[in-house]
Symmetry: C3
Subunit: 348 residues, 3 copies
């Protein structure tokens, strides 16, 4: 959708300072924005970004000075709320999602589909499954027995959802993802690994997005749980009985071992690995490729292997970087001590 | 299935010490067990766990003292064998697996299916494929030309099995997994990478379990091989010509490069990576995120990057942790030596 | 295909030195070759490999001496070009790829397929898609709206290609791979992560090969791009707006973050991770498991976390390995300094 600043200002109840005829075609964060984007600025601390952002316009609060750069702004009462509205109507020309039930979709007669659900070709919906209002499932997906899917959820092709998985509303699941595969649980009896039945479920809360080729295992008992608004990137592995809080970011190729509990607003950066049975506190950040072997307190950033507080780890890394020099100095000091000992008559 | 201790004791020929009416609903290892579980204890060394386990009952040998905690036990001749029987009959209420050949499954007329094979909707079985007694294949799987599958094997939705792959009996393969994709082999001719044909196969032995979205590449010649009873977690990559022994655990997101040979009972923990053309001896353990660059002797635990013996690596890690302090001490000693040199009249 | 050396020499215009009746069944690089293989040697520097290669025959230039080992060689004007021809006709007995359009394939009437395209069972081709001469798509693939696929491209089962992806000619895509899933882009408004629409595309150039269960995300705007001749192994993640040059090798489980630019002939070894918004110069090599946090100049090898020049990193690793000893030495020197200080009468 293309909108002029004038049209946008009207929709959000704001005033344009600058050229009202600028056409907006996208939305972005202030740092990542490109020409044609609109973005927003809530925190006066970041006002300097108004001068440097590539966005074509910025939604600001009423008390922010017009930028020296003449960048167009729209002043409003609540910039983040206004921006949130803008995201909803500046959407790209929409892809034609599947509509209706494709004749080749196989739906158990015991499944319950809201009247406007869309199912792509060759999708299979097993008995007892329930799919809510407006949900769209692309071709060749598998929706297992007694799976529950909320309203407005979007599932791309070739997704496998095993029995009894519960999925909320407005969830997005990308292609190739597997929800509800068996947890990796065995007991070794006389040298052979016997399977421990994994009879729990996976539950995905509202507004979660799950990338492509992700795997989330079902719990042994009870549930593996992903909290509301959490966003998961591609190729992430989440083991059985993991609990993830709300509004987390779990970046590509992260692995979380069994029964670990992640708080709210946590960021796990790419390729990080977490052992099982630990707690990651609210707002914690685990940097890329870290190996987390014990619990992380809330509001802490950890890094490295084994993961330690970020600032300490930075010092350790600087020392490591400097090791060849330290090692050389140590050898030099040894010689100097030997010379001193000789002079003074200490025999070694 | 729910069983009382009395019923279980009867089935395994044991004697209950404690409340016979306790109802068991699951099985687990002694440390991981929860209320409702039964577990077992073979090794008297672990008898203290009898006091702390959350299991509702424990199968023990006849010479173990009844626990002070009054925990219910069942005494038998051979606890691990008895437990093994219990696993078989304490199973969760079974999921309704596909039954029979779904009319939409496409089976080449040259394929040979045992009379009770189940094929889900939209599964394709190519010519020359053979599928054994009681094997169940969920919807939307691809079973390539001349693939052989044993008896009692279970394959979940959206699995791709390329031509000539051989799969044993009682194998479980989770959704999204790909067996027999081409090995990553190229020869560079005048700056361009030309494909080396990968004409070998993948062979999966009996009782193997393979997680979701795993990839196991076909060999260049000969075979990529997974030994009997080995369990592979999600998102693992196994390259061409790798040989894996029996009863190994390969945890999520491990990567094994081409032609590496893994012994029996090896544990590769999560996100570990192994270079190609090395040997990992029997019973070796590679800890999480390790990078293994050379062969590992049998019965050894290795850790870190490049992977070294675990105990040594622990000391190295302690030193690394301590580096800022060591670095400070080194600077202090330098000053003290300078002072000594000055006192004694050594000029530097 | 089996060919004698005599037949091969005839095809490439070369002269056999040695037994003309040797039968060749495969092709390989000189180091990896096995009995039955033919390989080639262009660079006289590597002539010693002629004595040690396991290949049954080697194509060489006219000025290379016959090997002492009596290894059969074929002399030609241009060994690499000749070898390139041999690869084309020494191919394994060909797999029967799908032929024609399977009656169960669903093709939008607005899709444009060249007359000899093959579509496997249950493959779905959405409206506006174009597929070129001789391309083969296996069963259960999804080819989204307006996708363009060149000539001679091969796509294995269960591949998902989202709308508007552009794929060149002679591309190979292995099973389970997802092209064009949404980039991982959000803007946080009042604590909630709002999706930034990802309206760009993925473009895959000619002669690229992509392994199994790979994910390549569509760009936010513009395109995520893979250059001609690049080869990508299994379970690799390539984020939105990444640009990869020509003839690169991206080994299994590598992750590349958003907007990073990779030059030509770059090698990213297994499990390496790259942060976003950096440049990797032509011919650079990133060793396995490295974490690359800043740009890498052309013709450089980097290693470790954070990645540093390989030779320096080797020294650092040697020092790390030696840390317990260094640490012990440091303590010893401290004692010796204390003794010296006492002798001399310095009080600490």
């Amino acid at each position: 959708m293309r909108k002029t600043l004038k049209e946008i200002a009207l929709e959000i109840g704001g005033e344009v300072v600058g050229d009202e005829s600028i056409v907006i075609t996208g939305v972005s964060s202030i740092k990542e924005a490109a020409i044609g984007d609109i973005t927003f600025l809530s925190n006066p601390k970041y006002a300097p970004l108004l001068e440097t952002t590539c966005a074509s316009a910025v939604i600001t609060s009423r008390d922010i000075a017009a930028p020296a750069s003449k960048k167009a702004i729209i002043r409003t009462e609540n910039p983040s709320l206004a921006f949130s509205k803008v995201i909803s109507f500046i959407l790209p020309e929409t892809l034609k999602h599947p509509k209706g039930i494709h004749p080749s979709a196989i739906v158990s007669k015991n499944a319950k589909l809201a009247n406007d659900v869309a199912l792509g070709a060759y999708t299979v919906v097993e008995e007892g499954a329930k799919i809510g209002q407006g949900s769209i499932i692309y071709p060749s997906c598998y929706i297992g027995q007694d799976v529950e899917i909320g309203a407005g959820t979007l599932i791309y092709p070739n997704v496998s959802i095993r029995e009894r998985t519960v999925i909320g509303s407005r969830v997005i699941i990308h292609s190739g993802t597997v929800l509800g595969s068996d947890g990796f649980g065995f007991v070794t009896v006389e040298g052979k690994h016997r399977k421990i039945p994994q009879v729990g479920i996976v539950e995905i809360s509202d507004d979660v997005e799950i990338g492509a080729n992700v795997t989330i295992d079902r719990a042994r008992f009870d549930k593996t749980f992903i909290g509301r608004g959490t966003k998961i990137d591609n190729l992430v592995h989440i083991a059985h009985n993991v609990i993830v809080g709300e509004n987390c970011f779990i970046v590509a190729q992260v692995g979380i071992s069994g029964s670990t509990v992640i708080g709210n607003n946590v960021i796990l950066a790419g390729q990080a690995g977490l052992v099982g049975h630990i707690n990651i506190g609210d707002n914690a950040i685990v940097t890329a490729q870290s190996g987390v072997s014990k619990s992380v307190p809330a509001n802490t950033t950890v890094s490295g292997y084994p993961a330690r507080p970020f600032m300490y780890q930075q010092r350790v890394n600087a020392c490591i970087q400097n090791l060849p020099k330290l090692s050389g100095l140590l050898k030099e000091l040894k010689l100097r001590i030997e010379e001193l000992e000789k002079k003074i008559g200490i025999k070694k």
